[in-house]
């Protein structure tokens, strides 16, 4: 008898866990402009080496930091929840992929523009990173919501 009650109680509690996590999934609605703004910020950083100026490089880093901080603050204020992209279970693979691509684009931009004088490569990398950020960012959101609804 005690076991039967405990089985039922455990199932009920697991249902509560699942519904609470599904509730979070419904609240994680990323504003449509979020990934576009993130992509533009990344593009600004990646195109900076084309100027071949240390001041522009440092200034771009500074502006990227300020812009990213503002973007995160606005997102938090709007959704009232925060998820760390690199610590979100299976969905994190999309965040890692985005970080790796953006990082690689930045390295290529620096090597091409400063090392070889090919500033066009920096511009191309910056142009590419915007749609990549939008696509991978939305994949991350979908994966995260999906796994929360599944309760995993």
């Amino acid at each position: 008898m005690e076991n039967e009650i405990r089985v039922e109680e455990a199932k009920e509690a697991l249902g509560l866990v699942k519904s609470s996590q599904a509730d979070v999934a419904e609240r994680l609605i990323t504003p449509w402009w979020y990934h576009t703004v993130l992509g533009v910020l990344e593009a600004g950083l990646i195109v900076a080496p084309a100027a071949r100026s240390p001041i522009v490089l440092v200034g771009a880093l500074f502006l990227f930091g300020i812009g990213l901080g503002t973007l995160v603050t606005v997102y938090r204020r709007m959704t009232a929840v925060w998820v760390t992209g690199y610590n979100a279970g299976r969905a994190s693979s999309w965040a890692f992929a985005l970080g790796a691509i953006a990082g690689l684009a930045y390295v290529i931009s620096i090597a091409a523009a400063i090392g070889l004088g090919w500033w066009q490569v920096s511009v191309a990398m910056a142009v590419i990173v915007v749609p990549v950020t939008i696509v991978l960012g939305r994949r991350f959101d979908d994966a995260l919501r999906g796994q929360l609804r599944e309760g995993s």
């Binding site: 609470s20 996590q21 009232a80 610590n87």
Partner: protein, 103 residues
């Protein structure tokens, strides 16, 4: 690495189970979000958050945003571990599996 099943009476109370479930899915959530999701008063939520905080399962952080103070709650590493263990134990109970020392 799977977490060892461990029933946690402190987490099992329905409101606290909901709080931990929501916070386990995010890095942090705002007080008002938790209150609305649970459908409880500020004082009831505060009491549950304080209980979890005193157990070392939860951290509270205050920030000013748009001219007003906001409170953010996040599970600690210990809290996440305890919650994962509790959910594992619930799964074990729901499946009717006997604990290892009884088998």
């Amino acid at each position: 690495v799977s977490t060892a099943p461990r029933f946690d009476h402190l987490i099992h109370a329905p409101n606290r189970l909901q709080i931990c479930s929501m916070l386990s899915a995010v890095a942090e959530a705002e007080f008002a979000t938790l209150r609305d999701a649970l459908g409880v008063s500020d004082s009831v939520l505060s009491k549950h958050l304080r209980t979890l905080e005193e157990a070392g399962y939860l951290m509270l952080r205050k920030s000013t945003s748009g001219g007003r103070m906001r409170t953010w709650a996040a599970l600690t590493r210990e809290g996440r571990h305890a919650f994962a263990g509790h959910v594992a134990e619930l799964q074990r109970l729901a499946e009717g599996v006997l604990p290892e020392h009884v088998r």
